[in-house]
């Protein structure tokens, strides 16, 4: 421990010191200690970043990451460009994995429940002894082990360990387990597996409720591939139609949104398939005869009555679907009601009759984000526990006491278990009921591997020393095995989990292309690449012979007690709630509602008006199973008979950032497993205004653009016709002569200045081009910016007061959506525009805001005296003022409680109270590359400097570079016919060019 403390103090000194030191100035007045290493770590040079390849474990997707390590501590998580999934990109949740590592609420060592019922620290040896003693007197079949998705060596270790104990009590539990899809594929294709969906080859995507840009399978890969395939090329433009009662973030990116009657996706898909087969059956494989008779029952006219979608729309969708390289997907909320398997099966048939299976829907690699998990498995285990059938329960990487309907009573059933051992890293709802907590290493501290789909073997390696006295669960299991007598110990030759893992990799070395290489070299090479990526195996898939006998029903839940249908959807920010302990994610505005730090109820404005509800009114949602209360968010992107609430909040534990925040939507859901073994996330509910009200904690201002042309869009029709022109705001007022003269003089002064000092000679002008057609609003850039630039979080009250510090924000505007007018949602990332004629600069009395010779609006924190004139004069509202001391550990507003301060980027100053701050295109990255280029005596190549937002963006929407170089990518994009600059009528000459969003709409 002593050594650990010293190391950390050393880091503190070398890293960014807290604001207090700033006052000292350039003297040795306050003694500050420099603590050297005893033994220098390998590959570490102070001041130079080292990157370690690993695998993100924030969700089951399996993205490759590069972790930037400075002076022995991880400071940023970035995508691994070598990963075939995420290709160097990373979503907000992946970026925030750093705050899992440094979470101030992490358990700092093993804990045991004492006689008084409270948790107290215990030594590892004592904890082991308690488990060994209890296991010694327990029959193997009374031991159960619950894990999350752990596909890989750890999964096999748990199974081998349980087998050695004589137990078969393994349960994998993922709250979003893809049960419906697997069940449907069993029915339609005879395989209990998921295919891989090739968005890269799909020019036409028909999504039946799938939030594939948010949480589904691998959202980063989906986004990358979708953005590419959907873009305008010489052959045309991709098209995406979203079918869901609610317009999710994915739905916002669709060219057309269709909101069918809730739970009728199956009928709609079958009707489309019917038309595809009847009218456009050219691509259909020979065995479609098996479904022909089935499909004939679903003619568009009768389907229209069920779904509420006009028959002509169904015919048009069918025609579009068969004319293009298409892909239909059923997932997300389309897969979460009690007839979701029917929807999934119908969509499977639709893909089959259009000839997509084998092209855009490819079986063989069997990706399984749910790792075979079913909700029914959890329900069965809970029953066994309640019946006293489980004596010892281990829980690792799952939180069933939160992620299951409250009616299931998993938490209470834990009371019937004699010894519950949790491996939680933060005290979660399940660990709160445990007798022993043996905190696991964070994924960034672990040796491990992960196999999200066949042919992909991903590796994790520790990127730094463990922050706390935690132990990797693999090591704990092996240590326990060693103490459990010869019959158990004899089965494991490895002493540590790393040995166990390496032994597993040794046996598959030849299979993974390491033949003829020393194992150490193979291991090192695999580690460096983040794993071994083999081509995905493929398998031809035919229809199951019994497919014709399937019956399809729609969800009938609305017949229940309520008058509205609730959709409880996975949050794109917190997924199933596991991200709620990360302050960056709490402060990240939801891409749709823009609400932070809490829950909300999405209600159509007309429905809300009927109930007398306005934005921010608290709404009590009641189902047959319970109630939940959250403020209303009036959203025109939802059906009038549907309300929606995001899952992920309402934790009773999970640390300071998540606890007692928002509503637990699981309270409202039925605990009864569905036919396919899943959990229905749809529920009949009634609503009532409680009479209380709050200001929504949302940084969004008006949701309408009021003709300002901020986020602009056009249609593909206009692009093709060559008449897609951005709208320019012109000032109606004539410029008075006197002003004209002042401007001329000012321009002359600028020109004179350009010939002296730093301004003389040629310079780059840094600029950004942002392609709104690619931007999905996913907000990965926002979290990347927080991480790179040490941006503090201000908390719910701070956001409510409009004090958020988000240098980069995603603006969201509604267009239409009133009456029968179709709704479109415009999104636009807004950061400092680095104006050529910046309104902020001339008003700064102390020259803290000034123009750099390379075209940035510099912001010099140590000069700033906090007049806020610059912010008042900024038309884009991208300057952020430190109203509180976020960097002072004694301040109530402190944003980096220990050890969260270790996440700080040492290349960026941590700002003090009273200082204005803003985006400077990651000037520290620009200067870093410039220094490097000078030392290497070379020019900077285009694309070499990447801003943090650009680097993270899964859709490649952001391009950074030199606008003065006519050949740079950013120059070429900025010349695009679709390019416009926000509020350019103000003559600010922004350095950011936006390319209008192009929608591939069709006329009915």
């Amino acid at each position: 421990m002593g050594k650990e403390m010293d190391r950390r103090r050393f880091l503190k000194v070398l890293g960014v010191t807290s604001g207090g030191a700033a006052a000292v100035g350039c003297s040795t007045g306050t003694p500050e200690k420099l603590v050297p290493y005893l033994v220098p770590p390998e590959n570490q040079i102070p001041g130079v970043a080292t990157y370690y390849a690993s695998t993100c474990r924030e969700c089951p997707a399996g993205c490759g990451v590069h972790v930037r390590v400075r002076e022995g501590r991880a400071v940023k998580v970035e995508g691994n460009p070598g990963s075939p999934f995420n290709g160097g990109k990373l979503c907000a949740r992946g970026q925030a994995s750093l705050q899992g590592l440094y979470n101030p609420d992490r358990l700092r060592g093993p804990m045991a429940r004492g006689a008084d019922g409270g948790l107290a620290p215990i030594s590892w040896d004592d904890a082991y002894a308690r488990i060994v003693e209890r296991l010694g007197s327990t029959a193997g079949d009374r031991v159960a082990f619950v894990t999350g998705n752990e596909s890989g060596t750890f999964d096999r270790l748990v199974n081998a360990w349980l087998t050695a104990l004589g137990s078969q009590g393994r349960l994998v539990f993922e709250p979003f387990g893809y049960e419906a899809l697997r069940y449907a594929n069993q029915q339609v294709f005879g395989v209990d597996a998921l295919p891989s969906y090739r968005f890269a080859e799909a020019r036409y995507v028909l999504s039946f409720g799938s939030d594939f840009l948010e949480t589904w399978i691998n959202p980063v890969q989906n986004t990358r591939e979708f953005a590419e395939a959907h873009s305008v090329t010489e052959e045309g433009m991709g098209r995406y139609v979203h079918i869901e009662p609610r317009m999710s973030m994915s739905g916002i990116n669709a060219d057309e949104w269709i909101a069918p009657n809730t739970g009728t996706e199956a009928v709609l898909a079958l009707a489309i398939a019917n038309v595809v087969l009847a009218d456009h059956g050219g691509n259909a494989p020979s065995d479609v005869f098996r479904v022909r008779q089935l499909l004939e029952q679903y003619d568009p006219e009768s389907a229209a009555g069920v779904c509420g979608v006009p028959a002509e729309t169904i015919r048009r969708l069918a025609a579009e679907f068969s004319e293009n390289s298409s892909l239909a997907i059923a997932g997300g909320m389309g897969n979460q009601h009690d007839q979701a398997h029917a929807a999934a099966a119908a969509v499977g048939i639709l893909n089959y009759v259009a000839g997509n299976v084998g092209r855009t829907v490819v079986f063989g690699s069997d990706p399984d984000p749910g790792a075979g998990s079913t909700y029914r498995g959890l329900a069965d285990l809970t029953q066994r526990m309640r019946d006293g059938g489980v004596d010892v329960l281990f829980v690792h990487g799952a939180n069933p006491a939160y992620n299951a309907p409250s009616g299931l009573g998993f938490g209470e059933a834990l009371g019937q278990v004699d010894l519950t051992v949790s491996f939680a890293r933060v005290l979660d709802e399940t660990a709160a009921h445990a007798d022993l907590i043996l905190p696991d290493h964070d994924p960034l501290e672990q040796w491990n591997d992960f196999e999200p789909r066949a042919g992909t073997y991903l590796l994790q390696q520790p990127v730094m020393q463990p922050v706390f006295d935690t132990r990797q669960t693999g090591d704990v299991l092996l240590a326990l095995a060693g103490q459990l007598g010869a019959s158990v110990a004899g089965r494991f030759s490895a002493q540590t989990y790393k040995e166990y893992l390496q032994a597993a990799w040794r046996t598959r070395q030849n299979q993974l292309g390491g033949r003829g290489v020393a194992f150490d070299d193979f291991w090192a090479a695999s580690q460096q690449a983040g794993g071994v990526y083999q081509p995905e195996p493929t398998r031809a898939q035919r229809l199951d012979r019994n497919v014709g006998g399937l019956t399809f029903s729609s969800w009938s839940g609305i017949a229940g007690s309520g008058d509205l249908t609730l959709m409880a959807y996975p949050s794109s920010v917190f997924y199933d709630g596991r991200g709620a302990s990360r302050p960056w994610l709490q402060e990240l505005p939801d891409p749709v509602s823009k609400i932070t730090w809490g829950s909300w109820v999405e209600i159509h404005p007309e429905t809300a008006a009927e109930h007398g509800i306005v934005d921010g009114d608290f709404v009590e949602v009641t189902s047959a199973h319970g109630t939940a209360v959250a403020p209303a968010f009036l959203y025109p992107g939802i059906r009038r008979d549907v309300i929606a609430m995001p899952l992920g909040q309402g934790h009773s534990e999970l640390g300071r950032y998540a606890q007692d925040r928002g509503a637990n939507v699981y309270n409202l859901l039925s605990s009864e497993p569905t036919e396919f073994g899943g959990l229905s996330h749809y529920q009949a509910v009634s609503i009532r205004a409680t009479g209380e009200h709050e200001v929504l904690a949302s940084p969004a201002g008006r949701s309408r653009q009021m003709g300002r042309g901020i986020a602009q869009s056009t249609t593909y029709e206009h692009v093709e016709a060559g008449d897609a022109h951005p709208f320019h705001v012109e000032h109606a007022a004539e410029v008075p002569e006197a002003i004209e003269q002042v401007l001329d003089e000012w321009q002359a002064a600028q020109d004179r200045e350009r010939a002296i000092g730093n301004y003389a000679g040629d310079h780059p002008r840094w600029g950004l081009a942002i392609d709104l057609s690619r931007c999905t609003g996913c907000s990965a850039c926002v979290t990347a910016c927080y991480s790179e630039n040490n941006i503090p979080v201000v908390g719910k009250l701070g956001v409510q007061r409009g004090r958020e510090m988000s240098w980069l924000r995603i603006e969201r505007y509604f267009e239409g959506g009133e009456g029968d007018e179709p709704l479109t949602v415009e999104i636009l990332p807004m950061m400092c525009q680095q104006c050529g004629h910046a309104p902020c600069e001339p008003v700064c009395p102390v020259f803290a805001a000034y123009h750099t010779s390379d075209g940035l609006n510099g912001q010099i924190y140590n000069r700033c005296v906090g007049t806020r004139y610059c912010s008042n004069n900024c038309p884009y509202k991208v300057r952020y003022f430190n109203w509180w001391d976020h960097s002072d550990e004694n301040s109530a507003a402190h944003s980096f409680p220990e050890p969260l301060h270790l996440q700080l980027n040492p290349d960026v100053t941590v700002r003090d109270k009273g200082v204005m701050e803003k985006c400077t295109f990651c000037v520290q990255r620009i200067r870093g590359k410039q220094n490097q280029a000078v030392l290497e005596d070379r020019e900077i190549a285009d694309g070499e400097i990447m801003t943090a937002c650009q680097q993270g963006c899964p859709a490649d929407a952001i391009t950074f570079g030199d606008l003065n170089d006519p050949n740079s990518a950013v120059s070429r994009l900025s010349q695009s016919d679709l390019g416009y600059r926000v509020l350019d009528g103000l003559n600010t000459d922004p350095g950011v060019t936006y390319l209008m969003r192009v929608r591939h709409t069709v006329e009915e």
Partner: protein, 192 residues
């Protein structure tokens, strides 16, 4: 150059002649050196520590002995100065590279060995400290065309028994040099 090509034989003779001349010169220089050896710096054995400027360090490590008398290169210990913003601080492991064998009788070396044996790092007092809003890239200065020596900013370290802050490290002091050398004076070169 006349542009005439020397025949090979003549060339060899010419080269040999040049060689002889060089050899003679070299010897003459060497002979001169033997006659008047340069004043080699010998650090004083006893120093009045009470009168020394600069903070008192937990171990009386003497730059004048290491960098002065033994002429150790600065980069031997501050190994990162040419590649990184940070000059690098020697690990105790690096100290023990020599002090495993030498200096055993010295009580200050004994402190070092004790710390290493206990696995306890030595907490040096920082002498040259910049405020956190300044980013100073050592490598750009050490390797700059301006041929900056460590001593230009840190003073005659190799004569200091105890290191003290030589320059003010104030921004005006930075800018003086940046202006004479026509280096950038852009604020965001250092402040970000």
């Amino acid at each position: 150059m006349t542009g005439k090509v020397l025949p090979v034989a003549k060339g060899i003779v010419a080269l040999a002649l040049v060689g002889v001349v060089l050899y003679a010169t070299f010897h003459a220089v060497q002979a001169q050196q033997t006659q008047t050896p340069p004043e080699r710096f010998i650090a004083p054995v006893d120093v009045d520590t009470a009168g020394l400027p600069g903070p008192v360090q937990p171990i009386f490590y003497r730059h004048d002995v290491h960098a002065g008398q033994y002429e150790m290169d600065c980069l031997y210990c501050h190994y990162a100065a040419e590649v990184s913003s940070s000059p690098g601080l020697p690990s105790l492991d690096a100290c023990m590279g020599c002090h495993l064998l030498v200096g055993g009788g010295n009580p200050e070396v004994a402190k070092l060995r004790e710390a290493v044996n206990e696995g306890r790092p030595v907490e040096w007092v920082e002498v040259h400290k910049l405020p956190p809003f300044v980013h100073f890239p050592h490598m750009r200065h050490v390797l700059s065309d301006a041929e900056i020596e460590c001593q230009d900013c840190h003073g005659e370290i190799e004569r200091m028994p105890q290191v003290y802050q030589f320059a003010s490290l104030k921004m005006g002091w930075c800018l003086e040099c940046h202006e004479t050398e026509e280096a950038t004076t852009d604020c965001t070169a250092c402040h970000y």
